[in-house]
Symmetry: C2
Subunit: 201 residues, 2 copies
Amino acid sequence: MQIGKLFVLLGVHRYRYAKGEEILPTIKNDNIIGIVLDGFAQIMNIEYNGNEMVQENLGKNSVFGTTISATNSEDCQIIAKEDTEVLIIDYVKLMRPENTNHNYFNIFLSNLFDIINTKYRETNERVKVLEKKQIREKLLKFFEIEHRKNHSKNIYLSFPFKDLADYLAIDRSAMFRELKHLKDDKLIEVDGRKIKILYEI
Amino acid sequence: MQIGKLFVLLGVHRYRYAKGEEILPTIKNDNIIGIVLDGFAQIMNIEYNGNEMVQENLGKNSVFGTTISATNSEDCQIIAKEDTEVLIIDYVKLMRPENTNHNYFNIFLSNLFDIINTKYRETNERVKVLEKKQIREKLLKFFEIEHRKNHSKNIYLSFPFKDLADYLAIDRSAMFRELKHLKDDKLIEVDGRKIKILYEI
DNA sequence: GTCAAAAAGTTGCAAGTGCAACTTGTATAT
DNA sequence: ATATACAAGTTGCACTTGCAACTTTTTGAC
């Protein structure tokens, strides 16, 4: 069986959207997994007063959909900010037991598993940080995790500090204030986007 | 091929621990997925000053391990608080492409996928709440998600308020304070563990 | 270069929150 | 019935934080 036919059987569809288009308005009520294969999209939240705000950024390999989070079922829409290609997977069809008879399916599922598992690990990592009640603790937890991942006391941010504040779900200025306190306490040194851990970890 | 032999091939092992035992001290450095099949365990964090604190509760179907989070690689141990049965999965062996030739594997992976995917959705749900900066917003987001899940403005907590505070990663007394504000503002009514949403959602 | 836009960094202030230390209520067991 | 433990609920206070409103620096485009 061809992979294309199997995709139809499984309810897996590939869609392309031009910049500015809304991604599948119809998927909202379904039990689906979406994967961004290429491009960039954003989940926009429409507030009661009418103005929109970015709820989530979807880069390449991002996963979204009602099966993934409570995201896509309310007053929100997913907008392609560049030309974007997505894979939409019907979760119910995907989980049919007889699928495992098809080898293409098994390879596909194995890859999908790896993607979801990686996302799950990353999200758990973030939760470990978000669980901390205070900004200082969030920062220290973040440093600890980065240290463990890279086995180095030098942390290099590949993104703006603003994005770090978003990741930690804290106010940007409050974060800078606490970074200064950490510097004053000789716990870290900061040089641009390079953070050096000075304490024993 | 028998499922037992396949498990060996995949590096999947089932272990039983008596109450009080430490779960696999050796797994810490490996790339593993652990699943609690039965029983109850806790990830304990040993602090610098020596006293332990609960980092995570692992009930039935809980997933843990170094593949899942940055949890198990530092000064922590997993203790069986009841007689507990766990499945330990070697992630590298699990992801070998040739595995998909075995049908037992495919069924196993399909089930594992469902478990991880469910956990991922639940974790994402929690992140939506933790991302909110203020207690009031965390509570309102929590209500919103519960409302969407049950299509009801009556939310019944199946756990103590203390656990809700932990879930929201906020101080318990601060949570009660804010619940009172929400009551004063006529946004909710609270009767025991039943919360009634009074506003349009 | 010059300009504009984004990011970095700072500060005051009011409001929010964690923490400690309670009281009250509600189960469960002996 | 009494004791014990746990959950619910409250309060004061000091500290933390979000927010707004800046300035300064860096980056990227023309």
